[in-house]
Symmetry: C2
Subunit: 85 residues, 2 copies
């Protein structure tokens, strides 16, 4: 939850892509399997990165059925923007 933790979470290329994919389409269903194809990483690796983004409070995931819907946490984003200004 620290600011360094947030920056560190975004500091990995795979996680930055994950974050932008989620941020770009917050209304749609996103499942890890699509990320696997898109980012060329194994399912456990994607799951690992999603966890780090979650722990940094950058995204939230809610499970509906077997799928998980992800969306960005806009509050965390504004905090970071505020720091940078």
């Amino acid at each position: 939850m620290t600011l360094a933790q947030v920056f560190s979470a975004l500091g990995d290329p795979i996680r930055l892509k994950l974050f932008t994919l989620i941020a770009r389409d917050p209304s749609q269903e996103v499942c890890a399997c699509s990320f696997v194809d898109e980012l060329q990483r194994s399912q456990p690796t994607i799951s690992h990165h999603l966890k780090i983004l979650r722990e940094a409070a950058l995204i939230t995931g809610t499970k509906r059925g077997t799928w998980v819907w992800y969306s960005v946490n806009t509050e965390a984003l504004s905090e970071v923007r505020e720091f940078l200004s």
Copy 2:
């Protein structure tokens, strides 16, 4: 110079403190020795972190005499802010 590189540079607690110290007082002379005292790290470690911030284009250092003056690169900052909005 990638966005991930910028976030990664800010993702370390020591570097985040270095960056805020420089950003908070951009007009003043800053020398690594003061950072050594302030951040409780050895001079080579501070120098190493400053290099990473420089390579991420977050700060620029100009040498005048034996001291180095550091200031933040405002262009890089706006780029990051733009990404987050």
